[in-house]
């Protein structure tokens, strides 16, 4: 109890300081008077009485000091004192302060930003209710979309014992599948077909309206749609009245049943870098089962069931279902947590970024330590005086640490601003296919992290200089005249090692960055198998006005004819899917060939028209392209790629052979492979079916190779196609280059970030070198003066100083390269086309560092060579 009283009383006393001081003054005053009166009564003279009274009472100043300490919070008192002093010191040296805060701010900003990304993508659960029990069920037998046949999904729902619910979305939706007409500018929207329980599995509720009903998810059920928050705001001005109203979608009347909340962003999780406007019902019925592997399955585990248990459940269930249904496609369930599916592939890259930012922070600390050491050297006398006046070593160390923590604290404020700007930029980056990027935010977790980092940084970079402080004896220090004594030589050694460390760390970062930049360049340099430059694509689906194949073929003829006759168009053609935008594969064999079910050849399918190969720049290796005459009335034909040709007819001429597809198609041409899954991945087997001979496509993209700039292509094509489709929106045009850029965007993102860090590290290292060398030149002005007076030429002097610089650089490089040699192995998964000890990256980065180090040493060297020996000698 009395302890609590004491604490409260002390806190009160701390804040009522001036009242209490006045009280004490009054009391002491009264006391003094009484003493004086007593002395006078004893017969002393008034002066003597005063003197004795003062002696009796003791030293009033130190008494008051002791009183404050006894009653208040001396720790905080000292802290405030330190802070006041710190601010005075920092104000006195504004240049230094500004610079230090800037460096720490950039470092902390970068750390906070990376942390917020890592936090969002790796640490925090996905933005769903109980996100940890959500599971992604891939089908290992379905490349590359990991999709499963609807029948298996329905069977698995019945037979499994692990899942509360299994839902799915239809993975083969296309960008711009839905044409919105009616009020306002017509536009193409992207809609995701989802199973009735899909949102329920994820635990997402609509913000207004309701989810789909069972009935709406039957084949030919009522036509309904759910809007995304984005479309609702953009197109319908957030009008809640829209629910229950019909929209005109693909020339059909569809009722809006609800609006999903902004917090649910399908694209940022399942299709990063794109955007989604609507959700439609995806019926799980025999009709959709017949479409093949189309469903992407997400499930919610029953409470208490682990992912492992679910895996073993499905390890048994999978083969059982497959044997029961030999008529279906292959099925090999592969379960992973949804989070692993969404962000798992980015983990290595994010870890690299996190490590890189850590290294940057170490360099920042080394740099600031160095700056503080340099500044302390000029404060030796001040320190010595404070020691002489009775400041203890601990007090001085505390003072120094206060200074560094204040600096890093101010840096943290700058850092939070940097991170806020960074996060804003990140969340508004379009077309970067990194999931959850729009969820990156500077929240309390990030702020807490920043606080910890700030304090840690302050302690780390302040500790070395702080511990250096009272090393030098008072006497020595006061006597010292900037000529360099043992103390400063020790400093010099310490500072040099800090610079060596900076160079080593910078080297590590640079080599890593070099490897990734080289990989990125190799990726950009990859032969895609098509030429994305100057190719524009737009959807021109024939729609319901063209119900028969013949009518549609006439539509295609007309469209291609109109476009071909447009000025500036080099080539044009039609396709159902663009490269890098989704894939489906079908089984295919040469006529008469027999394969086991497991190794039945599969090939990626494209439905294209004549002219597509030329427009896309896909080389025809043998045979011929399709023509407008390859229609339902002529022989069924097919074009295959080289890989498929070699697989089906190794060593034979494939042109003229027959494949089993659609009861027999004749191979009329062989083309090169196209990288369509990712830029990094080889094409695999591919086949092209003529659009005029099939109706198995869900989109028609017009692909145009042109010499015109994109804006005028759009205008030209819109006016040319007006007779066929008056509703083409101006923003529906996309370039194929955009698709390639999007596919390489995660890599570009990582490379950009790393390059930013490395540049920062390089600048810091250069500054470190510069500071140390110019400090040593400054310290040795006298010596240099003597040398020059004795006849050393400016040139020799410069060379000597640059040699000194290079010694530091080489030492740092040796350590850094050693480190890099070990560390770059961790990068292997991120590299493309280079090995982890790629000589070009190593040599290039060493060259950059040596050049930068030399430059950083050259300026002080030049200044030194201009020292006037007479002034230098006189100055001391």
């Amino acid at each position: 109890m009395s302890r609590l009283n004491l604490v409260v009383a002390r806190i009160v006393a701390f804040f009522k300081r001036s009242d209490l001081d006045r009280d004490l003054d009054n009391e002491l005053e009264a006391h003094l008077c009484l003493l004086v009166e007593e002395n006078i009564a004893r017969g002393l003279s008034p002066e003597e009485a005063h003197r004795t009274a003062h002696l009796k009472l003791g030293n009033l100043v130190s008494l008051k000091e002791a009183h404050r300490e006894t009653r208040g919070l001396p720790v905080i008192d000292t802290l405030l004192q330190d802070l006041r002093f710190t601010f005075r010191i920092l104000r006195r040296d504004l240049g230094f302060t500004f610079f230090a805060i800037l460096i720490v701010g950039l470092g902390i900003g970068a750390s906070a930003l990376i942390f917020s990304i890592v936090n969002t993508l790796l640490l925090r659960p996905l933005p769903f209710k109980d996100a940890d029990s959500l599971v992604w069920m891939a089908n290992k037998q379905s490349v590359p979309e990991q999709t499963t046949q609807v029948g298996y999904l329905l069977d698995a729902r019945e037979a499994n014992r692990s899942f509360e619910e299994l839902g799915a979305y239809f993975a083969y939706y296309n960008v711009g599948d839905i044409k919105l007409t009616g009020d306002g500018e017509p536009e193409r929207l992207t809609g995701i077909p989802v199973s009735q329980n899909f949102f329920h599995v994820l635990g997402v509720e609509p913000q207004i309206g309701r989810l789909f009903t069972e009935e709406e998810c039957r084949i030919n059920g009522p036509a309904v749609v759910l809007l995304t928050d984005g479309l609702w705001r953009r197109r319908f001005g957030s009008n809640p009245e829209i629910v229950g109203k019909p929209l005109r979608l693909n020339e059909q009347s569809v009722i809006v049943v609800g609006v999903m909340p902004a917090s649910f962003d399908f694209a940022s999780i399942f299709a990063p870098g794109s955007h989604v406007d609507l959700y439609r019902p995806f019926p799980l019925t025999p009709e959709t089962d017949r479409m093949g592997n189309t469903s992407a399955i997400v499930g919610r585990l029953k409470p208490g069931v682990s992912l492992e248990a679910a895996r073993s459940d499905f390890n048994i269930l999978g083969p059982q279902l497959r044997t029961h249904h030999p008529e279906r496609n292959e099925f090999e369930p592969l379960l992973s947590s949804l989070k692993e599916h969404v962000t798992g592939h980015l983990r290595p890259a994010l870890l690299v970024l996190a490590c890189a930012v850590g290294v940057v922070m170490l360099i920042v600390c080394a740099n600031l330590s160095n700056l503080l050491l340099a500044r302390n050297a000029t404060r030796q006398k001040e320190m010595a005086i404070r020691v002489a006046l009775g400041a203890g070593r601990r007090r001085l160390v505390r003072q120094m640490l206060t200074e560094s923590i204040v600096l890093s604290g101010a840096g943290a404020i700058v850092g939070v601003l940097v991170a806020l700007v960074g996060a804003r930029v990140l969340t508004h980056l379009d077309a970067i296919s990194i999931p959850l990027l729009s969820n990156v935010q500077i929240d309390f977790g990030v702020l807490a992290f920043t606080l910890v980092i700030a304090i840690l940084t302050g302690v780390v970079f302040g500790l070395v200089p702080a511990l250096q402080v009272p090393v030098i004896g008072v006497n020595e220090s006061l006597k010292e005249n900037n000529r360099g004594s043992t103390g400063s030589r020790k400093h010099a050694w310490l500072r040099s090692s800090l610079v060596v460390a900076e160079i080593a760390f910078a080297c590590l970062l640079l080599v890593g960055t070099g490897l990734l930049v080289r990989s990125f360049l190799k990726v950009l340099d990859v032969n895609l198998g098509f030429q994305p430059e100057r190719v524009v694509a737009i959807r021109i689906d024939p729609g319901t006005a063209y119900p028969t194949q013949t009518r549609r073929n006439a539509y295609f003829d007309e469209a291609l004819r109109l476009v071909q006759n447009t000025n500036g168009i080099e080539a044009c053609g039609l396709t159902d899917v663009l490269p890098l935008e989704g894939d489906r594969s079908w089984g295919v064999a040469g006529k008469g060939q027999v394969y086991q079910r497991e190794d039945y050849p599969e090939a990626f399918v494209r439905i294209v028209s004549d002219g597509y190969l030329e427009a896309m720049g896909i080389p025809l290796l043998a045979g011929r392209d399709f023509t407008a005459h390859d229609t339902t009335d002529s022989e069924q034909v097919i074009i295959i790629n080289k890989t498929l040709a070699e697989k089906l007819w190794p060593g034979q001429d494939p042109v003229g052979q027959m494949v089993t597809q659609d009861g027999g198609r004749r191979v009329i041409g062989v083309v090169g492979g196209v990288r369509h899954v990712t830029v990094e991945q080889d094409s695999g087997s591919e086949m092209y079916l003529p659009m005029r001979q099939t109706n198995d496509y869900s989109a028609v993209q017009l692909v145009v190779r042109t010499m015109l700039p994109q804006a005028s292509v759009a205008t030209a094509l819109r006016s040319v196609l007006k007779p066929l489709d008056p509703n083409i929106g101006a923003n529906e045009f996309r370039t194929v280059q955009q698709l390639v850029d999007k596919a390489t965007s995660p890599r570009r993102f990582v490379v950009m970030m790393l390059a930013g860090f490395s540049t920062f590290a390089l600048i810091l290292a250069a500054l470190g070198i510069y500071a140390v060398i110019s400090y040593s030149v400054h310290q040795r002005t006298h010596e240099i003066g003597i040398r020059m007076a004795l006849g050393e030429s400016a040139r020799t002097l410069q060379l000597r100083i640059i040699r000194q610089t290079l010694r530091l650089a080489v030492l740092g490089l040796i350590i850094g390269l050693g480190g890099s040699w070990l560390m770059t192995r961790a990068l292997v998964g991120l590299l493309f086309g280079v090995t982890s000890n790629d000589p070009a990256a190593f040599i290039g980065m060493v060259a950059i560092l040596v050049v930068v180090a030399t430059a950083a040493g050259y300026f002080p060297a030049r200044r030194a060579s201009r020292i006037d020996p007479i002034t230098a000698l006189r100055s001391n």
Partner: protein, 114 residues
């Protein structure tokens, strides 16, 4: 001037102040200092200012109370008096003190070589 050292002496001074206030009723700082000097027959020559450190300590522990009043020479002065909890504390410490001094006394009476 004899230095008052260490926590033992600090505690001793606290005890003396409490005892003085308990015996004499409300007193101001000067009065307390004077009284302790007299009782100790100047054997304990204290820097009189030190008494105020002791007083603020006791005040914050709520063992004594303070009010402003007028001194015998008509000056404003702070008068201290012992509180309930102060009396309890005094009693406890007095007993402690007696026990310890008893022990030490017996210890010091031991003669060697028996």
């Amino acid at each position: 001037m004899a230095e008052i050292r260490s926590e033992i002496m600090q505690g001793t001074l606290d005890l003396m102040v409490l005892q003085t206030l308990d015996a004499m009723g409300p007193l101001h700082g000067y009065g307390i200092a004077r009284r302790i000097e007299q009782l100790s027959e100047n054997a304990l020559v204290v820097n009189q200012g030190t008494i105020y450190l002791c007083l603020i300590r006791l005040l914050q522990k709520k063992w004594i109370k303070a009010t402003w009043g007028t001194s015998e020479n008509n000056r404003k002065a702070k008068f201290y008096s012992i509180s309930k909890s102060g009396q309890k504390q005094l009693k406890a410490e007095t007993e402690d003190w007696k026990r310890i001094s008893g022990v030490i006394g017996r210890l010091l009476e031991l003669t060697p070589g028996r």
